[in-house]
């Protein structure tokens, strides 16, 4: 990522003390990123070490506590639940699918946001007025509510359908952000210069504006991913998720429906919650780290990077 900063202004970069001085090495951003990579590796490399078939019903003995509890079985280190599913295998399968839902939904939202936001900010006039009014209206709709109503009718079969439905509400945030960024960038010298040189609008957008919006776009994407995962988890916890593939929210739903809380089966409901909290915290750290990269004033007094 440091490449971006050095490329855009080689003179200053060469005068820097070292490349480690890059604003992209914000500690919050890097910490969050490393955690996400680790979680992702767990999900991607897991199938190599653990049999994922154990994630399905009746593949294992029921109600086994984790291995460190009395009665635990080393064959199921994190225990099993009441439908005979191995907890470790469920987590291995569920983590990548949850991250995928978030990434797909947020990317679609981002793409729509870039399109609408740049039209609104760049063209102005009545297109801007229409896009802004609709965006502001959609942003205030309680999205989870509408998503519940939709998924209650339309049974979700796979994670892609889930991601598409979530993308319905993933675009207003990026649209607002990109519009306001384009509005300020349009008045900047280098963009005016390009305009006067008769550079096509699309090229100005891609070569002059997008590189300057990069930290904002990235912050919006990480925020969007965690927002989509949050929405997906909420739907799954209510029992509206894809039923065939285990997902983190579905595990929570199964646990709640089988009253795992009252029965003290901590190993059933706690692992998916811990994984989700780790994921959300990591994306949250990345988002505020990126905010600080984009807006140096937020770095505050003394607490620095």
């Amino acid at each position: 990522m440091a490449v971006v900063a050095t490329n855009s202004n080689p003179k200053i970069a060469s005068r820097r003390v070292s490349i480690w001085d890059s604003p992209w090495l914000n500690s919050k951003f890097v910490t969050g990123g490393v955690i996400i990579v680790l979680v992702l590796l767990f999900g991607l490399l897991g199938p190599l070490f653990w049999n994922t078939d154990l994630a399905f019903t009746a593949s294992s003995p029921v109600n086994l506590p984790p291995v460190w509890d009395t009665g635990g079985d080393p064959a199921h280190p994190l225990g099993t639940e009441s439908n005979g599913r191995d907890m470790l295998a469920q987590l291995v399968v569920a983590i990548p699918s949850s991250l995928k839902v978030g990434l797909v939904a947020a990317s679609i939202g981002m793409a729509v946001g870039i399109l609408l936001g740049s039209i609104a900010g760049y063209v102005g006039g009545w297109p801007d007025h229409i896009i802004r009014t609709i965006t502001d209206s959609v942003i205030t709709i309680p999205s989870l509510m509408v998503l519940i109503a939709i998924t209650a009718y339309v049974k979700m079969t796979d994670t892609t359908a889930m991601a598409l439905v979530l993308a319905l509400f993933a675009w207003p945030g990026p649209t607002r952000l990109i519009r306001s960024q384009v509005l300020t960038l349009r008045e900047r010298g280098f963009v005016r210069m390009a305009l006067l040189s008769n550079v096509p609008a699309l090229e100005i957008m891609l070569t002059e504006m997008v590189p300057n919006m990069l930290p904002w776009l990235a912050a919006s994407l990480t925020g969007g991913i965690s927002g989509a995962i949050l929405g997906a988890t909420g739907l799954e916890a209510l029992g509206l998720g894809p039923t065939r593939v285990p997902s983190l929210g579905t595990i929570i739903n199964n646990a709640l429906r089988s009253s795992a809380l009252v029965r003290g089966m901590v190993w059933w409901w706690l692992p998916p919650i811990i994984v989700l909290i780790v994921i959300f915290t990591a994306f949250f750290l990345m988002t505020i780290g990126l905010d600080e990269i984009a807006n140096p004033r937020l770095r505050g007094y003394g607490n620095g990077k």
């Binding site: 007025h129 009014t133 609709i134 502001d136 209206s137 959609v138 942003i139 205030t140 709709i141 309680p142 999205s143 989870l144 509510m145 509408v146 519940i148 109503a149 939709i150 209650a152 009718y153 339309v154 049974k155 439905v165 319905l168 965690s226 949050l230 929405g231 988890t233 909420g234 916890a237 209510l238 029992g239 509206l240 929570i252 709640l256 809380l261 009252v262 003290g264 901590v266 409901w269 919650i273 989700l276 909290i277 959300f280 915290t281 994306f283 949250f284 505020i288 905010d291 807006n295 004033r297 937020l298 505050g300 007094y301």
Partner: protein, 339 residues
């Protein structure tokens, strides 16, 4: 200049109806675009439950007739919008003779009470913490403690609720785990009942407030840092005004305005999150009613609650929007310049 101008009022009113129209139309359009059919789906579950249903195709046809599903889609849509406007949502699928509306109304006060208290508390705490974090004169010890309150920000409300139930209710037995009130108290305006309701509301309230205040705090911190460098702020300090006066009258008073806009925009997601909190705590509000409707595949009740929540949210945003020019006189002026 300033105050509530007519143009601003009309614009906000337009947005109010647009929000409701888009939200309500999405819940109408998407299921129909996907080609799934609630009556067939319900018959299938009936068949699953009872093994065999006599004359299933006739029942489907009768249902379709009585719910008007045979009419052209345009007519259905117009009738649907008309029903939304005058709060007629038909009969409950699962508890047939009962109107969907009558199943939802008893839940409304619970949700509205919980949500209002939770969102106001979370905003007040968040703004206070955030302003202190962004203020240059905040004592160092305080500045080291405050970020701790942001630890829970990235935890979804309902997950925090699950953790609370398992620790506070099942391990420590301090508070009741679920429900709105105990069975042994008499609902009404008597002291034991009110005490009981409050005891049941504490945990849902805490799970929303603790996890949502961090968002406001972070935004407010950024705004306050901006105000710190403004000339009027420096002048107020140079005049030797008391730090408290500078903080409240010059700092918060100016920095809070964009935060209020963010508050209006955030109501929707707050309500969404609280649905899950109610479900976790089996709190007798709309969220829990919704969960039961999902279980029973009671589509009209789901639709009723969805439309109702959309309308309530839009109304809340509209009220905030209309109050806003009274707090910030610049806003109507700015709007007219921008458009």
């Amino acid at each position: 200049m300033g105050g509530l101008t007519r143009g601003y009022f009309i614009q906000r009113l337009l947005m109010f109806f647009l929000t409701i129209w888009i939200g309500v139309s999405l819940t109408f359009a998407i299921p129909r675009l996907s080609g799934s059919d609630p009556t067939t789906a319900m018959l299938l579950t009936m068949m699953n439950a009872r093994g065999y249903v006599e004359n299933a195709d006739k029942i489907i046809a009768a249902y379709k007739e009585s719910f008007g599903l045979n009419d052209p889609i345009g007519i259905q849509y117009i009738r649907y919008l008309w029903n939304v406007i005058h709060f007629d949502y038909g009969f409950s699928f699962a508890k047939f003779p009962a109107a969907a509306w009558s199943l939802v109304t008893p839940a409304l006060p619970w949700t509205l009470g919980l949500l209002t208290v939770a969102s106001v508390l979370s905003f007040i705490f968040g703004v206070t913490v955030g302003s202190l974090m962004g203020w240059r004169k905040t004592p160092r010890w305080l500045n080291n403690i405050l970020p701790v309150s942001l630890t829970f920000t990235s935890i979804p409300y309902f997950m925090f609720g699950i953790l609370l139930i398992s620790i506070v209710a099942f391990k420590l037995h301090w508070l009741p785990a679920t429900g709105g009130y105990s069975r042994d108290v008499n609902p009404g305006w008597n002291a034991p009942f009110i005490k009981d309701v409050l005891a049941h509301a504490i945990m849902p309230l805490i799970s929303i407030v603790i996890t949502s205040m961090g968002g406001w705090a972070l935004g407010m911190r950024g705004l306050m840092i901006g105000v710190n460098n403004e000339d009027y702020f420096l002048l107020a300090q140079a005049k030797g005004l008391s730090p408290a006066r500078v903080f409240f009258r010059y700092g918060i008073r100016n920095a809070i305005l964009p935060a209020l806009t963010a508050f209006a925009l955030g109501i929707g997601s707050l309500i969404g999150g609280s649905i899950l909190v109610e479900y976790i705590f089996a709190y007798p509000g709309t969220g829990y009613t919704l969960y039961r409707a999902i279980q029973e595949q009671d589509y009209t009740v789901i639709q009723t609650i969805t439309n109702l929540i959309i309308i309530i949210t839009a109304t809340g945003v509209l009220i905030l929007d209309l109050l806003y020019p009274l707090i910030d006189p610049r806003i109507t002026y700015k709007k007219s310049v921008a458009s």
